[in-house]
C-alpha cells in the first residue's frame, strides 16, 4: 500500500517537473512575441509589491498608480509586454515573484520597499540582463537603480506645520519598525518642530510593527491623554489605529483638539469624522509615481541609472506636503512655503539621522 502511494507521488513529482519545464518555454516565446508587437518607444514595466499589498493606500499603491498612468499614456496593456504587478503576500514570495517577472521579459522591474533589497541583490546577480529598480533602499549592482527619498524634508515641513498649529505645545510621533527610513521621518519632523519653537515637546513611540492598528491606537491614546494635540505617524497600517483614536475622540467631543498627520500618500480620507469634520491636518507625501516616471524616462533615453542611487527631495518634487481639506491655515502654509524655499535653495539641510539631528539642534 505504502509503496504504491510513494510511487504515485514520485510519478506526479516527475510529471510536475516536466510540465513546469514546458510551461516556461511557452512563456518565454509568448513574452518575446508580445514585445515585438509593442510600441518601440514604450518600455514594458512591472512591479513586485512588498507585503503591504498593491492597494495599501500608501507605498505600493502609489507605485502601481505610477505604472498604470505610464502604461495608459503609452497605450500599453496590462500583462506581458505592457505593465503588470505581482503581489507578495509573505516575505517568501519576493524571490519567486522577481524571477517570474524576469522570465516574462519585462524591460524594467520595480521593487517597492526596503524589504526587497536582499531578494533583488540575489536575483540581480543571477539575471545580469534584467534591469531592476529598488525603491527606498540602496543595492549596489550594475543592473539595479536605487531610488531613495529625502523623507526628512517632507516631515520637516510637517513638523513646521504642526509646531505652528499646536495649542498644547505637545506633539506626538508614532513610528513603525525602527529603520533608516523611519528615522528620517522622525528626525525631519523633530527638526521642523524645533526650528519653529524648541520648547515644544515631541513624544516618540515606536510600535515595532507596520500592521498592528491596536498598537497604533494605544500609542495615540497615550499621547493624546498626555496632552498632545497633533500626532504624526510613519507606521503604515499601524497608523490606522492612530486615525481611529483621533476620530473616536472627535466623535465623543466635537471640540476636542486632535489631529493626525498622514504619511506617504494623501491620507485625508482616513480622517473623516462626519461630512463636515476631518482630523487629518496634512500628509507627508512621497511621490513614488514621480520617481518611477523619472527612471522610465532615463531608461528610454538609454541612460538607465544602474548602480546609481537617485535621491529625490523637495527640489525634485519627490516629496511634499498635502493640502487637501484646508485644515492648515493660510499663515501656516505661508510659513511652510518659506521653509520649503530655504530647503530647495540649499540654504538649509534637513537632518536625516539622529547624529545630524543632534548637531542641527545645537546650531
Amino acid at each position: 500500500m505504502k509503496k504504491s502511494i510513494l510511487s504515485i507521488l514520485s510519478l506526479l513529482l516527475v510529471l510536475g517537473f516536466v510540465l513546469v519545464g514546458c510551461g516556461k518555454k511557452e512563456d518565454d516565446k509568448q513574452g518575446a512575441s508580445n514585445n515585438e508587437g509593442a510600441n518601440n518607444d514604450a518600455i514594458s514595466i512591472a512591479m513586485v509589491t512588498d507585503t503591504g499589498g498593491v492597494d495599501d493606500k500608501s507605498f505600493n499603491q502609489l507605485a502601481w498608480e505610477g505604472l498604470k498612468a505610464y502604461g495608459e499614456e503609452n497605450g500599453l496593456e496590462k500583462g506581458d509586454g505592457g505593465y503588470d504587478y505581482l503581489q507578495s503576500n509573505t516575505d517568501a514570495d519576493y524571490v519567486p515573484n522577481l524571477n517570474s517577472l524576469v522570465r516574462r521579459d519585462f524591460d524594467l522591474i520595480v521593487a517597492t520597499g526596503f524589504m526587497l533589497a536582499e531578494p533583488i541583490a540575489e536575483i540581480a546577480d543571477q539575471k545580469k540582463d534584467a534591469k531592476f529598480v529598488i525603491i527606498d533602499s540602496e543595492v549596489q549592482k550594475d543592473n539595479v537603480a536605487s531610488v531613495m527619498f529625502k523623507e526628512q524634508e517632507a516631515s520637516f515641513l510637517a513638523g513646521v506645520a504642526a509646531a505652528l498649529q499646536t495649542k498644547t505645545k505637545k506633539l506626538g510621533f508614532v513610528g513603525g519598525m525602527e529603520s533608516d527610513v523611519i528615522e528620517r521621518f522622525e528626525t525631519g519632523f523633530r527638526a521642523g518642530v524645533a526650528s519653529v519653537d524648541p520648547s515644544i515637546e515631541v513624544m516618540i513611540n515606536y510600535t515595532g510593527s507596520f500592521g498592528s492598528p491596536e498598537l497604533g491606537k494605544a500609542a495615540a491614546n497615550q499621547m493624546y491623554t498626555a496632552g498632545a494635540d497633533i500626532i504624526f505617524h510613519a507606521s503604515g497600517g499601524t497608523g490606522n489605529g492612530v486615525f481611529t483614536e483621533a476620530v473616536e475622540r472627535k466623535t465623543a467631543d466635537p471640540n476636542a483638539d486632535v489631529w493626525v498627520i498622514g504619511v506617504d500618500s494623501d491620507q485625508y480620507h482616513l480622517g473623516k469624522v462626519n461630512d463636515d469634520t476631518n482630523i487629518t491636518l496634512t500628509s507627508a507625501l512621497k511621490r513614488i509615481d514621480v520617481a518611477i516616471n523619472d527612471v522610465i524616462k532615463l531608461t528610454k533615453e538609454g541612460n538607465f541609472p544602474g548602480g546609481n542611487t537617485t535621491t529625490l527631495g523637495l527640489a525634485e518634487d519627490g516629496v511634499g506636503l498635502a493640502e487637501t481639506g484646508g485644515n492648515l491655515t493660510a499663515e501656516t502654509l505661508a510659513t511652510v512655503n518659506e521653509w520649503k524655499e530655504k530647503i530647495v535653495n540649499g540654504d538649509l539641510t534637513v537632518p536625516g539621522t539622529y547624529e545630524e539631528l543632534k548637531s542641527f539642534e545645537e546650531q
Binding site: D55, Y206, A226
Partner: protein, 319 residues
C-alpha cells in the same frame, strides 16, 4: 501623565485590548471542552470582522449609534454559520480537526479579501464611521482612585467580555448542559451510554465557538482598525487559543490570561514615555508581552491538561 493616569491607562487599555480575545477564547473553551479543536478561530474572527465592517458601512444610516451592536449580532450569526463547515467536516465526516480548521483559516482569508475586492474594487474596505467609543460611568466615576481606574474612559465591550466569561463559567460548570459538554469532551462513549447525543453536543459547541469568535472579530475591527484588509486580523485568533491553554480550558482562567496579554501589551506601549523605562532599548519593550507569557506559562500555571477526547471524532461503538 500623573501616576494615577498611567495606572488607569494601563488598566483600561489592557481590558480594551483583551475584550476580543476573551470572546474568541471563550468560544475556544466551549468547542475544546466538547472535544473539537477549533484552530479555525482565526478565520472565524476574519469573517466576523469582515461582516461587521461591511454592516457598519452599509447600515450606519439606518441604525445610527446602535450600528456597532447590530453589527456584532449579525457577525455572530454569520460566523456561527461559517463555523458549520468545520462541524460538518470534522464531526459528521470525521475529518482531522486540525486540518479542517486550517482549511477554514485559509478559506476565510481568501474569501473575505476576494469579496472586498468584488465590492470595493480595492484591497481594503472604506473606513467605517460608527466606532466603539469609551464613556464614563455616571456616579461611579467620581470615586477617588477606583473611579479613574475602573469607571472612566471605559469601553462597554470590556465589561461585556468579562460578563460573558463569567456566564460561560456558570454554563460550563453549573448547568446540566455544561456537564454534558464536558462529558462529551472527556469520555464521549460514557456520555453516549448515558443517552447524550455526542455529535449534537459537538455541533452546538462548534457553533457557539463560531458565534463568539465572530463577536470577537467584530469588536476588534470596530475598535481598532475601522476597515477590513488582509492585515486586520493577524494572529488574534491564535492568541485567543493560547489564552485558553494558558487558562487551562477554564473560562475564568482564559479571561485572566487574555487580560494578562493586554496588560503586557499596554505596558510596552506606555513604557516608551515613562521615566527610567524609556531609557530601555525599544526591543526589550517589544518582546515584553512574549517574555512575560513564557515566564508565566513556565513558572506559575503548572500543568495544563486538555480534555481527553480532544481531536478524536466520535464513532459509535468503537473503543
Amino acid at each position: 501623565m500623573s501616576l494615577l493616569d498611567t495606572i488607569a491607562f494601563v488598566f483600561y487599555n489592557a481590558l480594551f485590548y483583551a475584550a476580543p480575545l476573551i470572546f474568541t477564547g471563550l468560544g475556544a473553551v466551549f468547542t475544546e471542552r466538547s472535544g473539537v479543536t477549533n484552530i479555525g478561530l482565526e478565520g472565524i474572527m476574519q469573517v466576523g470582522a469582515f461582516t461587521a465592517i461591511l454592516f457598519n458601512l452599509f447600515y450606519a444610516d439606518v441604525f445610527g449609534s446602535m450600528t456597532i451592536w447590530t453589527a456584532i449580532l449579525v457577525s455572530m450569526v454569520v460566523s456561527a454559520i461559517f463555523s458549520l463547515l468545520l462541524a460538518v467536516a470534522s464531526i459528521t465526516f470525521r475529518a482531522d480537526q486540525i486540518i479542517s480548521g486550517t482549511a477554514l483559516n485559509m478559506l476565510a482569508a481568501g474569501l473575505t479579501i476576494f469579496l472586498v475586492k468584488m465590492i470595493f474594487g480595492k484591497g481594503q474596505t472604506d473606513m467605517a464611521t460608527e466606532i466603539n467609543s469609551r464613556f464614563n460611568v455616571p456616579v461611579l466615576k467620581d470615586i477617588p482612585v477606583i473611579g479613574p481606574i475602573f469607571f472612566q474612559n471605559v469601553y462597554i465591550t470590556s465589561y461585556l467580555a468579562i460578563l460573558a466569561a463569567i456566564i460561560g463559567w456558570v454554563i460550563i460548570y453549573k448547568t446540566p448542559f455544561g456537564l454534558r459538554l464536558r462529558a462529551v469532551g472527556e469520555h464521549p462513549m460514557a456520555a453516549d451510554t448515558m443517552g447524550i447525543n455526542v455529535n449534537r453536543m459537538r455541533y452546538i459547541a462548534v457553533m457557539i465557538s463560531g458565534g463568539l469568535g465572530g463577536i470577537g472579530g467584530a469588536i476588534f475591527a470596530q475598535s481598532f482598525s475601522m476597515d477590513y484588509s488582509h492585515s486586520t486580523i493577524s494572529g488574534q485568533g491564535f492568541m485567543a487559543i493560547a489564552a485558553m491553554i494558558f487558562g487551562k480550558w477554564n473560562p475564568l482562567g482564559m479571561m485572566g490570561a487574555a487580560i494578562f496579554f493586554g496588560f503586557a501589551q499596554s505596558l510596552s506601549t506606555i513604557g516608551s514615555n515613562l521615566p527610567v523605562i524609556k531609557d530601555i532599548p525599544n526591543v526589550y519593550l517589544f518582546i515584553l508581552p512574549y517574555v512575560l507569557t513564557v515566564f508565566a506559562i513556565a513558572g506559575f500555571i503548572g500543568k495544563s491538561v486538555a480534555p481527553k477526547a480532544i481531536n478524536t471524532p466520535y464513532i459509535k461503538g468503537s473503543r
